[in-house]
Assembly symmetry: C2
Homo-oligomer: 343 residues x 2
DNA sequence: TCGTTTTTTGCAACCGGTTGCGGCTCAAAT
DNA sequence: ATTTGAGCCGCAACCGGTTGCAAAAAACGA
């Protein structure tokens, strides 16, 4: 249990009769150190088993090679894939990733922001909690020039970095697909409307109806709090009990869509003949439910990769030409059996 | 973009005419500082907007308040729940969590271990990659007295901290349940046998058969590489093509179990009448597939919480009475329709 | 009142890299 | 021979807390 002494640059310096500054510079490939010395120092460093103390460097630079992530909850398919993408690219660049969950509570997000700030992260990737409406808790990062990239659930502000999908078009296409299958009373499971993703999906839905001269029936638009399984069942029951029940549902997520399918089947409703269903996300459950759920593919891992790249790229540039970039990734409609009325 | 100056303990010291040492001690509730001064200092610190620079403290202590996690892949239901539990308890204690994925490659695990080590984490939680057979890459942590807690996929060594479930009993009970349903030719989808979890589940399966005087037929035991959906389908096909096909399957995970159900149904096999199926993990897909999959519940979040607590507790104790603890959590058999032959 | 104990606080070194600025060396230019 | 300058490298301060040891202050006892 004796803690073996760590090798420092001072040890290398002493051994090689160089100054610590030279060792430091050599290890960082500083140009003002000759090729030969650099090579020698690196060789000896390796031999001695030197490993850099990133804490010391971080302290000096007041910046740790770490990317912070703020998300709602890790154990959701979309989120964990997102993180997976971030972690992968961050690590390749020698960055660590630290994670904080808000559990969709604004309050937690504020606390986590503070903690992450104190950790001197060099960049922050945020997918907003369901509750969040203000960005005050993130102001500090901006003031300090710490790059923030918003991903998926982003604020409406314009001059910020975003990595999103085209929710509007996805919603439009999903609805249009249902219309093309011959559906005319299409219900929509809508998420919280102050979150861009759900608002855009709904807008796409509405415009698709409009463009195809279908009436908008507010009874068919259900506002969800969390798009959970239970909520989905209840909503489906209400819809099916309507005097004129819908002949299709476009749900803003897969969980609710699957619950609709399962509940409707229990009632003896034929899917997709009597009720076509399409979801959003392509969660694993989408391909398991029967009939398999048509859905919109969300490039979660890629979104994570791109978000991380933005941070890394910002960290690499010494000057701060921070023109906020908005990246919109394409989605894809994945048609399975739950919406395929025509052969 | 002007980086506002951070408040340090020196600023507080100057303002209050105390020395930085006193400030530092007061903020850490050091006993040798009088109650009054402590209170005063804390008040002023708050007023001035002081926030501790954990990097500096970490450097001095050569230990950052950070827990490292090594797992295979984040985007798997069990793993993301595990992390969720770790993150939650770690954060409550003021610790950060940094994550590294091995993608089930030993090579990556080695690299990640090195990176985490260099980050001066104060503890490490590890669920081994599928490939890992040696622990050399973790030796460094042990030598430095950095606590390691293994979770779920753990090594066979005895004198280490482990948080696991009783895979043997779970496997035994799952198999026994199938036997009680009247099944006599029970197949097993087994995972890599050098990983404790899969080995134990198989042992439970074998012992259950033995105890109920059922023969062990090696044709009915399929060795999987990764227990994936594709592998599951193929294995099921082979089993059903057998002269004497099985009347039940106990799969070491849900993915393969679900694939078996779906494939068998496609062949017109009745579940559970002709083929009873039981899985492991209770992934979301388990409750979606039809008939719903019986499975073994894995307390993933709790496992994460306990693992984190172990680390925190070790960090709290100044003396190192490191008697390795092994925590075995109970599992529960969740009987759904896929295995319910009798009413 | 004065020495002794206990409490409270300060000094200064330390953790391990990083970096502005200045110095030294040696070759090319004048 | 002297100047100039490019190439290499070292000095020393710095990042912001932490802590052993000693000193100062307060409390106590005789």
């Amino acid at each position: 249990m004796k803690a073996k002494k760590e090798i420092t640059i001072y040890d290398i310096a002493k051994k090689l009769k160089y100054s610590p500054s030279t060792i430091s510079r050599a290890l960082n490939d500083h140009e003002s150190i000759s090729k030969n010395t650099t090579l020698l120092i690196k060789k000896v460093a390796k031999e001695m088993g030197y490993r850099p103390n990133s804490l010391a460097a971080s302290l000096r630079n007041n910046k740790s090679k770490t990317i912070g992530i703020m998300i709602s909850r890790i154990n959701r398919p979309f989120v964990s894939s997102l993180i997976s993408g971030i972690e992968e690219t961050a690590r390749k660049a020698g960055y660590n990733v630290i994670i904080s969950q808000s559990n969709d509570k604004y309050e937690n997000e504020v606390i986590n922001a503070e903690t992450l700030y104190n950790s001197r992260i060099s960049g922050l990737i945020v997918s907003l909690s369901m509750e969040t409406r203000k960005l005050e808790h993130l102001r500090r990062f901006m003031d300090q020039g710490i790059p923030i990239v918003f991903v998926d659930r982003v604020p409406d502000e314009l001059d910020i970095h975003k990595v999103i999908i085209d929710n509007y078009t996805a919603g439009y296409k999903a609805t249009q697909h249902l219309i093309e299958q011959g559906c005319s009373r299409i219900a929509h499971f809508a998420g919280a409307q102050h979150r861009n993703v759900y608002r855009e999906r709904k807008k796409g839905y509405l415009d698709a109806l409009k463009d195809h001269h279908l009436p908008v029936d507010n009874d068919l638009i259900v506002s969800f709090k969390s798009l959970s399984f239970g909520e989905g069942e209840k909503a489906t029951r209400n819809l099916l009990d309507l005097p004129q029940p819908p002949d299709a549902i476009f749900s803003a997520n897969d969980t609710a869509a699957v619950s609709a399918i399962m509940y409707a089947k229990k009632r003896g409703i034929k899917i997709p003949e009597e009720l076509a269903v399409i979801g959003f996300n392509d969660d694993p459950i989408a391909s398991i439910v029967e009939p398999a759920l048509s859905t919109v593919i969300h490039p979660a891992i890629k979104m994570g990769q791109i978000s991380a790249q933005r941070i890394l790229q910002h960290a690499a540039e010494e000057d701060e030409n921070n023109s906020p970039e908005v990246t919109v990734l394409p989605t894809e409609l994945l048609i399975r059996d739950s919406s395929k009325k025509k052969a």
